[in-house]
Amino acid sequence: MFRVVVKRELLHNLYSLRFLISLALVIAVFAAGAASFAGSSAANLAKYRETQSQFQETMRGLAGQDATDLAVRRQTYTLKPRSDGFISDAKEKYLPNAIVFSAWNVFSFQNKSGTANPFLKRYDELSWTFIAALIVSFIALLFTFDAVSGEKESKTLALSLANPVSRATILLGKFASGVLSVMAIVLAGILTSLIIVIVLGPEGPTTALAGEVLGFLAVTALLAATFAAFGLLSSVIAPSSNVSLLLALAFWLAFAVIVPNSSVFVAKNIFPIESSEAVQKRINAAFDDLNKAAPPGSWMMNSGNPFLPQHELRANLQMKRLEAEKGIRDAYYQTMFRQFDRTRLVTALSPVSLFEVLAEAVSGGGYLRFRKAWDDMHVYQGQMLSFFKSLDAADKDSPHWYNPSENVSTTRKPVAFERVPQFVEKPMSFVERAGPALKFLVINIFVVSAVFLLAFVGFVRYDVR
């Protein structure tokens, strides 16, 4: 019986005008997004290669000069633009994408200047995620908002129910066919996009990409299911299809426009963090205290004589300053991460925000990817440091007084660039993606079930006359 209902509903959807328009719109937007991605990804990649080769050249130059210069110089590593950015760009253009480090510390992160055009009002990338968040949610509602109230108006509902079919079967059938119709449209869009990206884009298909596409389909199905459930809900609580449409639109506005756009407000007012000026003040105060406590002569320096006894004092003082600043800054970064995570959890109120988090996890990008790179950079910095210490230990002309900020009292011999450890960005593993996304997945499944249940309760009590 269920299959009969689904088949009937599916055919009803397929022959409808909304299906045709949705299909045309979705294919057009997917194609536009893919063309735009293909148009910009080559240029972005070229820019990145330039940045990366400059980074390598600087490192090579420093290594050829002096190992200590290599160790103490602050360098900026820029993250590579993702080749699967067309699935979910995760607003990477506006997120920090460069990490400042030396062998002694990972200092800070920033959004590399020139990444986004400051004169162009911030906008969404036409990625699959954006299209799905906006259009899939919309058409899922459009396919379901009059599922019950519309049939009541066309007087077929009473007829259907006169047959030996339970209300649960009918509702589930409408739900399943709504999701299936939407996914058919999405699939057409995705195929269009994939063809364009693979033909015009810089990289061919890979197995990793195939996995991400499947994952994206899965989370999009969840999004479609969520909005189909909301559509059914508005269909059973409104007396007429006109009203249920307005209700559905209100749901959509709240979830796709209002909640995601109030995140900054939520972050600043519910989870405020210390201002960067206040943090800088604390660092300066810590520096002042260290300077006062330092034995006299700590600032003396003679670059011609590494073994000048005061250099040991200077090295100690600089090390303490580094540790003090690192402690304060790293704690501050933790409050930033916490603020971001909590804000995301609050905006999970909206299925669209939930979907965006899930899609980000599927494509292994955005904030998650930055956090991984940030952690990996700390591991790399540890490797660099032990590499440098081993170089210094082998040098008899070095007093071995570690000064993390200046080239004063450690080895001054050059080192072969080939021996220097390099930072390599690793793609995120399945566990790294799925782990942080799990709680959002659970929330989403709970929301779908709860809303569908509500719709079912509403339908059971629905007056079909």
Partner: protein, 546 residues
């Protein structure tokens, strides 16, 4: 006879308007639309007032810090005023670019104002930059268009389905009269919602103690209202056209909603994406490299000039601090050392100022390429009425790119007047550039050594000979600090008197300034409205009422 006909026609239109108005008023869509406005408009205004408050307090901090660094200087070489601009009160309605372009610009000698600095929308946490936010203009663009379509999509189809249209047409009623009545009825229903939305936001702004609108700001809100009305009209006519071309209400509704999503949400994003992908902006890395080369050339030129005049580049000072952009501040030196600092600055600073022009050429090319890309996005989005409306709104709120460009131009002019002021004082040739010490009180090394060691050493050479025998390097310096000599440290001098320094002043915005382009865009909306209405009229004439 004729006038009687006109009167009858007018009466008929009035009847239709009244009937439609009343039907609409009691419909659930009016209630839901009204509630949407009631919730969303205050939501956007309150969020943006809170945002404005944050930016204002940040502005006050920045301004005070800038004032401190500007006025608390003792030599002219470290005097670099910083321009800090307050947020525009109108940004509460349309924030435009205001939270992403920065509001602080320091005036340098070797560099013209390029990109403004300052905290952006993200505030202290750069990750928040990945969250977007909406303002009144965004909400208005979404809601007003939706309401316009919701009320017009079934203008004819519903009456056709109800069978009342046939009835109407069997009376001696011309189709143009019916259309005029319908249109006016819809406008009459929507106008109160629009007025209410603006009044509500106006009241919220008035009630907020943090924000003060000037008379011309309120005038601009009236302009925004006019633009909204025009925008609303365009969507009403789109709805009427679709309705007149559709067979059933459901069809008309589906088409209208898709047009809504397309115009309001998709086209603006596609426009920005296409601009970004197909109108390339210059590479920042490349610019930085070019600028680095220019800086290198400048340093070489300064070095050559110093060599040509036989001025030594190295120095040994009692107290000095040097930094980027020619900062030199020094105290307690010998006459010769002071003289060398002085001669160096006399040579280097005019070269530094001349090189600012050389840096500006590539900088301007870079800024132009960014502006070209943004303008292309703006031009592409004119395809959608929403794009036109947003462009007008951000110009009205003085938060568009053009307003930012004008502001930066004025700051660049201010830099010129600041440099002229320095040159007018002939300050590079004065010792005041590098030290507040009176040239008449300059001493020789020997005099200074004698004074500082309390007469223990008569000449510098004597102290050096003694010092070379000392094991502990520190002990040598202790001797030189036996007696504190006036003028050896910065705190012995007062801050500069810079009362006559030119200050940056922003002209108070005239009501209509900077709206030249908006007139054209407004004209575009009018043309679109008239054109759509004409199409709707033709479609309705040919409408099959059966």
């Amino acid at each position: 006879m004729m006038s009687g006909e006109v009167q009858a026609r007018e009466a008929m239109i009035a009847t239709i308007v009244k009937k439609d108005f009343l039907t609409n008023l009691v419909s659930p869509r009016f209630a839901i639309g009204f509630v949407l406005c009631l919730v969303l408009i205050p939501f956007s205004i309150l969020i943006n007032i809170s945002n404005y408050r944050d930016r204002m307090s940040q502005y006050r901090l920045d301004r005070d810090a800038a004032e401190k660094t500007t006025t608390e200087v003792r030599v002219y070489s470290t005097l670099r005023p910083e321009v800090v601009l307050p947020p525009d009160p109108l940004s509460v309605f349309g924030k435009g670019l205001s939270d992403q372009v920065g509001n602080r610009t320091r005036i340098w000698l070797g560099d013209k104002p390029f990109l403004a600095a300052g905290k952006t929308a993200a505030g202290d946490n750069p990750f928040l930059a990945s969250f977007f936010s909406v303002d009144f203009v965004d909400i208005a663009a979404i809601i007003f268009s939706l309401l316009a379509l919701i009320f017009s999509y079934d203008a004819f189809t519903r009456e056709k389905e109800d069978g009342t249209l046939k009835l109407q047409m069997s009376n001696s009623l011309s189709r143009s009269t019916a259309l005029a009545g319908k249109t006016l009825g819809i406008f009459l229903t929507l106008l109160p919602v629009l007025v209410f939305s603006f009044l509500l936001s106006g009241v919220l702004v008035l009630l907020s103690r943090d924000i003060a609108f000037s008379a011309s700001d309120w005038g601009r809100i009236v302009l925004l209202f006019a633009a909204s009305l025009l925008y609303l009209a365009v969507f009403v006519f789109i709805g009427i056209l679709v309705s007149a071309r559709s067979k059933s209400s459901v069809t008309s509704l589906v088409v209208c909603l898709f047009l809504w999503v397309l115009f309001v949400f998709i086209i603006p994003v596609v426009a920005a994406n296409f601009a970004e992908s197909f109108v390339g902006a210059a590479s920042r890395d490349n610019l930085d490299r070019v600028l680095k080369d220019i800086d290198k050339a400048r340093e070489e030129e300064i070095s050559r000039a110093l060599k040509a005049q036989g001025i030594p580049e190295g120095y040994s000072c009692w107290w000095c601090s040097t930094s980027e952009d020619g900062f030199v501040e020094t105290y307690g030196d010998s006459r010769d050392e002071f003289e060398n600092f002085h001669r160096r600055s006399m040579v280097s600073e005019p070269i530094r100022i001349a090189y600012a022009d050389k840096r500006w050429a590539p900088q301007k090319a870079y800024l132009d390429s960014l502006a070209r890309q943004a303008d292309a996005a703006g031009a592409f989005s004119l395809v959608s009425p929403t794009g036109v409306f947003r462009a007008i709104a951000s110009a009205v709120c003085r938060t568009d790119l053009a307003a930012h460009g004008r502001r930066m131009d004025r700051i660049r002019q201010y830099r010129e007047s600041f440099v002229r002021w320095l040159e007018g004082k002939d300050i590079f040739r004065s010792y005041g550039w590098i030290t507040p010490t009176d040239p008449a009180s300059f001493k020789t090394d020997d005099q200074l050594t004698a004074e500082r060691t309390g007469g223990e050493f008569k000449t510098l050479k004597e102290w050096e000979e003694w010092g070379s025998k000392q094991k502990d390097a520190r002990a040598r310096w202790v001797k030189l600090n036996m007696v504190t000599v006036a003028g050896d440290s910065p705190t012995d001098f007062p801050f500069l008197d810079i009362a006559d320094m030119p200050r940056f002043e922003e002209p108070s915005g005239a009501l209509l300034s900077g709206l030249e382009a908006s007139v054209l865009e407004g004209g575009l909306l009018v043309v679109a409205a008239v054109f759509l209405f004409a199409l709707g009229y033709v479609a309705f004439i040919r409408f099959d009422v059966r």
